[in-house]
């Protein structure tokens, strides 16, 4: 009877503590195996959800980029740390930028990355994904989550998400596709442009790049 009503005043305190712990273990045990807070589970859940939504959405299937970007904004963006990505891509010049410049630079770079990500997703969403188990200690705060895109007749493409644990959960600060770090790949371009025309020049450059993609997408729809 004491097992069914564990928290009776008559029960000795050590037994109560034991049952309490047992209850906690029962609740946490199964949750740990599929811990929604783990970075690899997060990547898997978000990827599968987004791919599922893309394949089900008629507007996206018929080529609506606006709808696709909307979906990415809602589902994917919250898990990215764009300020870190922009800082890493800008390199040493980041420290020379004013807070206002940093904000605008991050905003423009984010727009460009989201667009690129949307293109990549619509091109590869029909492929199969292989989610690799995370090789990290539970105490690690900086991990790499490996996903592989399986494609017929070719070596699988590795997508590695570099993630950092923050107060707001795990955030992606770099994506490596086939061993190519997106953030590192922009560094030379950014450095060259800043050397020639300063941080403002880089912001302008990104702006005009984003505008030209906007008008290209508009022209393609007509």
């Amino acid at each position: 009877m004491t097992v069914i009503h564990p928290v009776t005043p008559a029960m000795p305190i050590p037994a109560r503590r034991f049952l309490c712990l047992l209850g906690l273990l029962l609740v946490l045990g199964p949750a740990r195996a599929q811990d929604a807070g783990a970075p690899d589970v997060l990547v898997k859940n978000v990827t599968l959800e987004v791919v599922d939504l893309i394949t089900k959405d008629k507007e996206i299937q018929s080529g609506s980029r606006a709808k696709l970007i909307q979906l990415i904004d809602a589902k994917v963006l919250p898990h990215f740390d764009f300020a870190s990505m922009t800082a890493l891509a800008t390199g040493q010049n980041w420290n020379k930028a004013t807070p206002e410049q940093k904000k605008r630079l991050t905003e423009e770079f984010k727009t460009l990355l989201v667009r690129t990500y949307a293109s990549a997703l619509s091109a590869y969403s029909t492929q199969k994904f292989d989610f690799r188990p995370l090789r990290a200690k539970p105490t690690d705060t900086d991990v790499t989550v490996n996903v592989r895109v399986l494609q017929p007749g070719a070596q699988p493409v590795a997508i590695d998400y570099s993630m950092e644990k923050t107060a707001a959960g795990w955030k992606v600060y770099d994506v490596m596709v086939g061993g190519v770090s997106l953030v590192a790949n922009y560094r030379t371009e950014f450095t060259n442009i800043v050397r020639e025309s300063g941080i403002d020049g880089l912001i302008k450059n990104l702006q005009s790049k984003n505008h030209s993609l906007d008008s290209a997408a508009g022209a393609a729809k007509k």
Binding site: T116, A154, Q155, G178, V180, N185, R187, E189
Partner: protein
């Protein structure tokens, strides 16, 4: 062979151009002016001929057929992928590659079906450039080859050996060989259509973006996806 000779001639040309570089170039790319010229030529060639043909090829043939073409050439390539794994001392991978070739050439009907992958024998990515890299040969200067695109001095030598030893080169009669080479090229370009469009959208300076991606990619391939942490910056200046 004549293609090899041409590739070497271009290398010599690029080397000569390299003597005239100024001090403000990327140390990994001392021949940038010559490379950019060849890059522009390649872009023009791609715009005018290669991409339209590859697009028509992709839009005309169903994936079912293109997949067979891809598998056929991919199967032949497994022979040298296996050899390169052996040369790098990765005997288990090399045996896998040759087993893939044996299964796919027979039960896979001359490689048209990649039954080995279905059976769990995974495809690898190896070539002579990677083998030299594994042996400790550095990248050397970045080189843009005509038509073939991004390379380094080391990888260009590897590509030269690959062209020279290409099993397709032994196909006879000559018309069959030429058709096979063209078909392989068109199929490869068609598979890259999505990637090249994404590159176009992502890059601010396509030449620089493609160069840096190539150098990063090769480094990753040489270490089979696990390169040691970069000691220096991607851009050492």
């Amino acid at each position: 062979m004549s293609r090899l000779a041409r590739a070497l001639a271009v290398l010599a040309l690029a080397a000569a151009a390299g003597c005239a570089t100024n001090g403000d170039t990327d140390p990994r790319d001392p021949w940038e002016p010559a490379n950019r010229a060849i890059y522009r030529f390649n872009e023009g060639f791609d715009d005018a001929l290669l991409r339209p043909v590859a697009t028509a090829y992709r839009d005309t043939l169903p994936e079912e057929v293109r997949g067979r073409v891809r598998n056929f050439f991919s199967n032949i390539a497994d022979l040298f992928i296996g050899l390169n794994n052996m040369l790098q001392g990765k005997f288990e991978d090399g045996v896998t590659d040759w087993a893939r070739f044996a299964f796919n050439s027979t039960f896979g009907l001359l490689g048209l079906h990649d039954i080995a992958s279905d059976g769990g024998l995974e495809k690898h990515n190896e070539d002579f450039g990677q083998t030299f890299g594994r042996w400790g040969v550095g990248d050397g200067p970045y080189v843009v080859l005509p038509i073939l695109g991004s390379s380094t001095l080391r990888d260009a030598v590897g590509t030269g050996i690959e062209i020279w030893t290409d099993p397709i080169g032994d196909f006879r009669p000559i018309e069959v060989r030429n058709s096979a080479v063209v078909l392989r090229g068109v199929n490869t370009r068609a598979d890259l259509l999505d990637a090249s469009r994404i590159l176009e959208e992502a890059a601010l300076d396509k030449y620089v973006f493609q160069r840096d991606a190539y150098l990063q990619r090769r480094r990753s391939l040489i270490y089979d996806g696990h390169p040691p942490r970069d000691s220096g910056d991607a851009n050492p200046r």
